[in-house]
């Protein structure tokens, strides 16, 4: 029984949610309304998204109840992996969104403030359920200088992205979600050099994010960037590029894709 197939590269649709509505900013600002998270999650999955990420970008305490309800609604008819991030600070916060139907949580600021949270969630729900999100900025510097930012990109931590990615893996993270803040929302393409550096520093999958503008950018991040998955938001919500069309283009270019999807 020969099995010659390859693991597919994943295309992940990200819904940035503010107070129960999907929005997408340019470099974390200038938010535009793009619709209902539950409807969009199912629509993206039907269109071929391999995975859905819901990031709550407000994450204020009042909005938390709304988030859990949004997760529950979005998860109901979703049968692809579903990740929730934004404002998850404790094991209890994580347990709440898992109970609402999430398969993975993405933690960022809280993991930096309290690195043992990674192991706590992994210990209870498994490493496959913990994504550590890293927002990195390097300006014109080399990949070694890329620094980790928190609080939606507002606060520098002094930590280096490569070192933090390795530490996150050691502490039990199952995947790394790497966002280039230099590229986020610009449509200029992923930071392939930084993605490749992180991918070769860890053995867990790396999801590249920030900068997707066209199909070539995805080809680049899967080939020279060695990403296992790529995430994009605004490129899908505003129908500038259908997911199915994107995946077919990538498949024709020799990138392994889940197809038909």
């Amino acid at each position: 029984m020969p099995c010659n197939e390859r693991l597919a590269k994943r295309i992940i649709a990200c819904l940035d949610v503010d107070a129960g509505r999907v929005v997408k900013g340019i470099q974390f600002q200038q938010l535009r309304d793009a619709g209902d998270p539950a409807e969009l999650a199912v629509a993206h999955a039907s269109a071929g998204a391999d995975e859905i990420v819901l990031l709550d970008i407000t994450a204020t305490s009042e909005a938390r109840k709304t988030l859990v309800e949004t997760v529950r609604r979005a998860a109901r008819d979703l049968f692809v992996p579903f990740t929730v991030g934004g404002g998850i600070r404790t094991l209890q916060d994580a347990a709440q969104v898992f109970d609402a139907g999430a398969d993975k949580v993405s933690i960022n600021s809280a993991a930096l403030a309290n690195p043992s949270l990674i192991g706590e969630i992994a210990g209870r729900f498994g490493s496959q359920a913990v994504i550590v999100a890293i927002d990195a900025r390097r300006g014109n510097g080399t990949v070694d200088t890329a620094e980790v930012f928190v609080s939606g990109g507002r606060t520098a931590t002094g930590k280096k992205a490569l070192q933090w990615a390795r530490e996150a893996e050691e502490r039990g993270a199952g995947e790394i979600l790497l966002t280039s803040m230099d590229r986020d929302g610009t449509g200029l393409g992923f930071d392939c050099e930084l993605t490749s550096a992180v991918a070769s520093s860890v053995s867990i999958p790396v999801i590249a994010s920030g900068g997707a503008g066209n199909a070539q950018h995805f080809i680049d991040v899967f080939s020279s960037g060695h990403a296992d998955a790529a995430l994009a938001a605004s490129i899908f919500h505003f129908a500038t590029h259908g997911i199915g069309e994107l995946k077919e283009t990538l498949r024709r270019e020799g990138i392994p894709m889940r197809w038909p999807c």
Partner: protein, 195 residues
């Protein structure tokens, strides 16, 4: 009623949700009397194989009795691995030994864990995989895998070939997550519900 066996190995709400979506009456339980009363059993499980220790201590007899009585049983991920003799991930924790062989870690030549969508090579004649296309994509997340044996009904290649699905009489196991594998996964769960 389908009993979803809960032995503390991770989040199982998505399995329940998928079975309910298909119209099944599914109940998450760690109660031997509920397992005894169920028509079918689904046993999910993620994470470390040592989690099966608590299964062995509290529910092993109930689950094995249900299987012996002919009730359809579906093990998912670690739930499938438990059907084998054991796993090198936790040598002190025995599996059920219903299938021969031991689960082991992926070769060092590939990234581990194996996370994402990969293809099935389906052998003809499987009841569980009826209607699933040859080459269908399913979602995986695991670091250990079961060997290909006589009862293997589908395999996947990742640093070598491993058992994606096994089947003998009323005993079924899948290494991937049907509840997260879109249409192909729902097709498989629907086949199990219809047994």
């Amino acid at each position: 009623m389908i009993a979803i066996v809960d032995y503390g190995a991770g989040n199982i709400s998505s399995v329940k949700k998928a079975l309910e979506h298909l119209g099944a009456d599914a109940q998450v339980t760690s109660d031997p009397s509920v397992i005894a009363a169920a028509q079918k059993l689904v046993m999910p499980g993620v994470g470390h194989f040592s989690r099966c220790q608590s299964l062995n201590e509290h529910l092993r007899k109930s689950v094995l009795d249900a299987i012996k009585s002919g009730k359809p049983f579906l093990g998912i991920c670690v739930g499938m691995q438990w059907l084998f003799a054991g796993s090198t991930e936790a040598p002190e924790t025995p599996g059920a030994g219903l299938f021969s062989g031991e689960c082991s870690r992926f070769a060092a030549s590939v990234k581990s864990p194996h996370v994402g969508w990969n293809q099935l090579q389906v052998r003809p004649g499987s009841r569980l995989l009826q209607g699933v296309n040859r080459g269908a994509f399913v979602y995986y997340t695991h670091s250990y895998r079961a060997p290909v044996i006589a009862e293997t009904t589908a395999c996947t290649n990742y640093g070598g070939t491993f058992s994606a699905a096994v089947e003998r009489d009323n005993i079924f196991g899948v290494q991937f997550h049907p509840e997260k594998s879109a249409e192909a996964g729902l097709n498989i769960l629907e086949n199990f519900c219809a047994l």
